[in-house]
């Protein structure tokens, strides 16, 4: 098992390298002039020329790519943002925790609400409970979350004056953003839980459990749910990826200075170093979470754990 984990951790380096190269190449096609961004539109042409030379922007592509990769991966010097001159490493270290707290709390709400909804829907299939849960799930998917975010702010902050409308501070600042962000998660989790629970409830070992005299509640939570977890965990994993992206919107609305707002402002102002390093960090965090998801598979299903141990060499794909 440990060998598998080490292999997966080692694998993250080429992924990060791959992301770095892809984003770097993509951004070089960006129709924008770094000197223009830094010096502003009032600078004359020769001012910009001096700056371009000093930053080595006129070197050929591969030289710049080489510099960038050695800086980032060997010297871990992420350099400074072109626009704000802030050291990228400090701003990321400061912002990553906030995005992480927001994403994890949104994911937690999605799991804590989505899965029970799915189970309730599966248990009384066809009856009212099922229709109510699934109606909520369908509604959750169809509403764009930035629109819902504004509704929530108006309702809870302006009208009821219960929660702060924006900014960062104690935990209460994260409640509204998390709720706004999780409707999509609740919806997809509830639907997935329902369909995989329905499949599991019909299988033989559930009848065996009932024949043993196990309480219906335990049959559902212990026996059925544990077996239905694999596809549910897959949805949680893929949803975590979408969340990291979706949080950008929620962060902008609630003016939470997280990775999302950092990257959006960087993209809008073509602040390439920030976009590149930000993408790499997000990609690493994302693949790290995917590793955790795969480990969850092994924890839940011994057959998969056995495959990991015996395989060791080739990664088992779940998707």
């Amino acid at each position: 098992m440990i060998r598998y984990i080490i292999r997966r951790l080692l694998w993250m380096i080429p992924v990060a390298l791959g992301v770095a190269v892809i984003v770097f190449t993509l951004m070089t096609f960006c129709p924008s002039d770094a000197a223009e961004i830094i010096l502003g539109s009032n600078a004359t042409e020769e001012d910009k020329e001096i700056l371009r030379d000093s930053m080595g922007l006129n070197d050929p592509f591969f030289v710049r790519l080489g510099d960038f990769l050695t800086d980032t991966f060997i010297r871990f010097d992420f350099g400074k943002s072109w626009v704000t001159k802030a050291d990228i490493k400090t701003s990321i270290l400061e912002r990553m925790p906030r995005t992480f707290v927001l994403t994890v709390s949104t994911l937690a709400i999605s799991v804590l609400v989505g899965i029970p909804l799915g189970i309730i829907a599966a248990i009384n299939q066809g009856k009212l409970g099922d229709n109510m849960c699934m109606a909520f799930a369908l509604a959750g998917i169809s509403i764009p979350n930035f629109w819902l975010a504004l509704l929530l702010v108006i309702l809870f902050s302006v009208k009821l004056k219960l929660l702060p409308p924006m900014g960062i501070g104690g935990l209460e600042y994260y409640i509204l953003p998390a709720i706004a962000g999780c409707t999509n998660g609740i919806a997809s989790l509830a639907r997935q839980t329902r369909s995989s629970m329905l499949e599991v409830i019909r299988s033989d070992y559930i009848t065996t459990a009932r024949a043993k005299g196990v309480k219906e509640f335990d049959v559902i939570t212990k026996h059925a749910l544990k077996n239905a977890l694999i596809p549910i965990i897959t949805v949680v994993g893929t949803h975590f990826g979408r969340l990291l992206g979706g949080m950008m919107i929620i962060e902008t609305i609630f003016s939470i200075p997280g990775m999302g707002t950092l990257i959006i402002t960087a993209v809008n102002t073509r602040d390439l170093p920030v976009v590149q390093v930000g993408s790499i960090i997000l990609a690493i965090v994302f693949s790290f979470c995917m590793l955790i998801v795969d480990l969850l598979y092994a924890a839940v299903d011994p057959r998969i754990k056995a495959q990991y141990e015996s395989m060791g060499k080739r990664r088992v794909k779940h998707g």
Binding site: Y205, G213, V214, H223, N227, P302, R303
Partner: protein
Amino acid sequence: MAELEKNAGHFLEVKDLTVEYFTKEKVVHAVNSVSFSLEKGKTLGLVGETGAGKTSIAKSILRILPDVGARIVGGEVLLDGVDLIALPEKEMRGIRGNKISMIFQDPMTALNPVQRVGDQIAEVIALHNEGKKDEFKRRAQEMLELVGIPRERYSEYPHQFSGGMKQRVIIAIALACNPALLLADEPTTALDVTIQAQVLRLIGQLRDKLGTSMILITHDMGVVATYCDNVAVVYAGGIVESGTREQIFDHPSHPYTVGLFGAIPNMNEDEEWLHPIDGLPPDPSNLPKGCAFRPRCKYATERCGEGPIEMAETPDGHQCRCCNLEAVIKGEKAK
């Protein structure tokens, strides 16, 4: 749990048990007023084609019919005089796995794939007994050894066991609480022949050792011959013939039973062709009036189609639901 007082009646008595499955379009009459009884320590064989309702009978005794669409419409199941159908769910749970337990047909899917084998045995012990966890674990390990599995494999998972080994674990689970009645639903059908004999011998030994009475569901006459004291032949949701093993094997009197025996190739004669019963079992959602076997019966008469057929006594004293008994017995002798 109320102490079951011994009364003069049978250990287990099933009276007019009727079970129906509901779907939006149609109603399936799986079991139609089945009655039989079982003495303490004895084994009853339920024999019949697949889809005849044998499994539904067993599941309704244990009341684990899938609640979506299945319902016990009528009848009683008396265990030591207590009607299980009327019992509240909480008390019925006390009986399941403790007083009555069940072995299932397909061992490959009957065990929870993500739970350790030993834990699945310990779970049923813990449910019905007081005491500490490791005491349950010790008893579960004893059960494992009882069914011939080394104690060390307690913490392995079902996917590490072969079909036969899994069935042994299921047997261990079923007998862990030393139940009074064991329902075995075609325990060896899914296994290959060599393993079948071993598993059946194991069930037989444990049954004799623990004195458990058993209902053995099968479509294999050989199994009935070696392991069952009494036999009941089930056809289209009803019992068409019942009696002791000797009575049924020596004097099969219901045309369907006769047909069943005819379908078994005889070892000491080189028969050219087997004699399958022609036609197919009736559709359980619209059963023909009168005797369900009439369309496929050689001895069918007008009377068979008129109304419900009563159980009749055969010359050697066992029950048979046929109104044209003499003709069948005469026809049988002529052969």
